[in-house]
């Protein structure tokens, strides 16, 4: 493998890791606050569709992004209603949201565009264009560093940079602000937070809505950045890979970055090589496809390190017993 191929694979790793990272951080807020969310996939899918649809109709990708965030937040609100207000089963609610999005997106897409459940292809201002960072062209002649800066670091859409910037921001919010402390506390011991006079319900709703916003960005990036338009089931399990990455990252922002990059790399390699030949041993593409899931199962089993979820995760909070 030569240097240029490596750069290309890493470049595609960054692109593919971005939606995973956004969804993973989304799940991080929700689950740290004690609300399990297996509906990341559905929220991303709904956002992908509505962002592409609005971007196509208005020609503005930013309006599309806003619409995508709105769609995702609406589903997040349903999840909040079911799991916080009505104290229902958070896992079942997540399953329902995934199906709701899978069905509604195709139904509405078919009704609006009549193209078999997809949106028309997006062009021009309806897509997030790559940004060329300063000096990328000037440095392109420099060996080694030139391609790394010009092809790997530069030339992504604004959402990619945003996703990566969100990692330190999330870390700062969770571990250096009062809101973050309370958010984490409400996922570990909601009764203590309640006793301190802070509303558990409001904190959890805040977390679930932040999750909605980030899933919305993730979905919008899929349909308007990574690809040019919405197609049926375009999330293709990314919400679940993000969930896997979240467990793999032990619910920590910096670990989430590494986990998503690793899973992004697996996707990039699987995309480029149908069967990877490692000196005589051929690794079929399906192995790369399922490796994130296998790693997560092994990790969850505690054979390598131990993944301990937030203690109050999945439990609706009942004020009086």
């Amino acid at each position: 493998m030569d240097f240029l191929t490596l750069i290309q694979i890493l470049d595609s790793t960054i692109r593919l890791a971005t939606p995973l990272l956004l969804a993973c951080l989304a799940g991080l807020y929700s689950e740290r606050a004690g609300v399990f969310d297996i509906g990341l996939e559905g929220k991303m899918l709904a956002a992908a569709f509505l962002s592409a649809a609005v971007a196509y109709v208005t020609g503005s990708v930013w309006l599309g992004l806003l619409a995508g965030i709105g769609a995702s937040m609406l589903l997040a609100l349903v999840h909040g209603l079911a799991s916080i207000t009505f104290r229902g089963n958070q896992l079942i609610s997540g399953v329902a949201i995934n199906f709701l999005a899978a069905g509604l997106t195709v139904l509405v897409a078919q009704s609006w565009f009549q193209q078999g459940g997809r949106t028309p292809s997006l062009m021009g201002g309806a897509r997030f264009e790559p940004i060329t960072l300063p000096f990328a062209d000037a440095l392109s002649g420099v060996p080694f560093l030139g391609p790394i800066y010009g092809d790997l670091v530069s030339g992504h859409s604004v959402l990619v940079y945003m996703a990566f910037a969100l990692v330190p921001i999330t870390w700062w919010i969770l571990f250096r602000t009062r809101f973050g402390l309370r958010l984490r506390a409400v996922g570990e011991n909601p009764a203590a937070v309640d006793t301190a006079g802070v509303s558990v319900t409001r904190l959890r709703y805040a977390a679930v809505l932040i999750c909605g916003v980030l899933c919305g960005v993730a979905g919008a990036y899929l349909a308007t950045g990574l690809q040019a338009g919405f197609v049926k089931d375009m999330t293709a399990g990314r919400g679940f890979i993000a969930l896997a990455a979240l467990i793999f990252a032990k619910w920590r922002p910096w670990n989430a970055l590494w986990a998503c990059l690793l899973f992004g790399l697996l996707q990039a390699v699987a995309l480029r090589y149908q069967n990877l030949d490692l000196g005589g041993i051929v690794i079929p593409v399906q192995v790369m496809d399922v490796l994130p899931y296998i790693l997560t199962v092994i990790f969850l089993a505690g054979f390598v390190g131990k993944a301990i979820p937030p203690r109050a995760g999945g439990e609706p909070y009942v004020k009086e017993r």
Binding site: V78, F86, L91, S93, G237, Q286, Y293
Partner: protein
């Protein structure tokens, strides 16, 4: 004392949830510019108006009975088995291997052998998540989700690289030999003089599914093991105090659940396709969740709910054929049913409880 009578809990709440889901679905149909009433009429005539429609409805029902029972059995042990999809895929592998590589001259022999293969493979796919839940405390929901994806990858690999006949481009196994073909309802009903559509895929597996309902009912309410499973589901500490082994119950409940999900393959792989194709399960594993929730995890309820979803599935296919409403409408209805009967149960329940309480005070 209970807040409301049992019949309200068993019938009224699912019924109200269903009406809410149906009402919202009608709004969705209106919003995309179609007539909900015409849609309902078309679904009823398409799914129940002919023996052909019934044949498809009962075929889907058979699938959903198995996956619904799978979710229900696990649920009684308070385990949420979301991996029915993967377990049914592996069940298909078990069926395919039995049909392709074992000498099975007649369906009377082929049916039990393939059923055992399906149940074994399905149960095996539930084994690792069950073990990890029982012994290592990994959350069963997450591991079974992961195992669905791993199953899809495994089947993809096996079909593309190993099981595909030489020279075929299609990622599917060879046709199963003649002796393993299951009789359809047409074949079964013709000798007793009942005319049933030849083209419909409903087959003898439907009878097996009905027997499975009975067997699960017997298991849960008439055996010591069933009692232990339900006791464990109600309260783990109490069950442990009573000498019930939590590891054993978790494992057994999940193995039965996986086996039931696997059994679905007898219907779709052996009874309908007569070969193993990619994505043979088509989401039936997930519909099992809606079916079990709707049927209140009781085998009889599962049967009724499976019939309802069988009707929706066949009716939805007819709608997609004759109108501009795509098949995904069924996915939306399914999602709404899961939402209202599962996650928003309290929303339906709380006002009802209040009504019943005030009625009681008045009396």
């Amino acid at each position: 004392m209970d807040k409301m009578p049992r019949w309200a809990d068993v019938f009224l709440i699912p019924l109200i949830s269903l009406l809410l889901a149906a009402g919202l679905s009608a709004l969705v149909i209106l919003a995309i510019g179609e007539n909900p009433w015409a849609a309902v009429k078309m679904m009823v005539s398409g799914a129940l108006g002919s023996t052909y429609g019934w044949g498809y409805t009962l075929y889907y029902t058979t699938n959903f009975i198995f996956t619904g029972l799978a979710v229900a059995v696990a649920y009684h042990a308070r385990l949420f088995n979301i991996g029915g999809e993967g377990q049914a895929m592996l069940g298909g592998l078990g069926v395919a291997l039995a049909c392709l590589y074992l000498p099975l001259p007649h369906w009377l022999l082929a049916l039990p052998v393939a059923a055992i293969g399906a149940a074994l493979f399905g149960a095996a796919w539930a084994l690792i998540p069950a073990y990890l839940q029982a012994k290592r405390g990994s959350h069963i929901v997450i591991t079974t989700i992961m195992f669905n994806f791993i199953a899809a990858g495994l089947l993809n690999y096996l079909l593309v690289n190993l099981l595909r006949p030489v020279g075929s481009m299609d990622p599917a196994t060879d046709k199963f030999p003649e002796g393993t073909h299951l009789p359809t309802l047409h074949d079964l009903l013709a000798p007793i003089g009942i005319e049933f559509s030849k083209a419909a895929p409903a087959n003898v597996t439907f009878v097996v599914a009905l027997l499975a309902c009975l067997a699960v009912w017997l298991l849960l309410w008439r055996t010591r093991l069933g009692y232990e499973i339900r006791a464990f589901g109600h309260s783990e500490p109490a069950a442990v105090y009573a000498g019930i082994n939590p590891v054993k119950i978790t494992m057994i409940a999940m193995l039965i659940s996986g086996g039931l999900a696997g059994l679905m393959a007898v219907n779709n792989v052996m009874g309908e396709a007569e070969r193993l194709v990619l994505n043979a399960v088509e989401g039936a594993g997930f519909i099992g969740i809606a079916v079990a929730l709707m049927g209140r995890n009781h085998p009889f309820g599962v049967l009724i709910a499976a019939l309802l979803f069988g009707f929706l599935y066949q009716g939805g296919a007819e709608l997609a054929l004759w109108t501009s409403i795509p098949r995904e409408l069924i996915v939306v209805i399914q999602a709404l049913v899961i939402l209202f009967t599962g996650a928003l149960d309290h929303m339906v329940r709380m006002p009802l409880e209040r009504i019943f309480l005030s009625l009681r005070k008045g009396a």
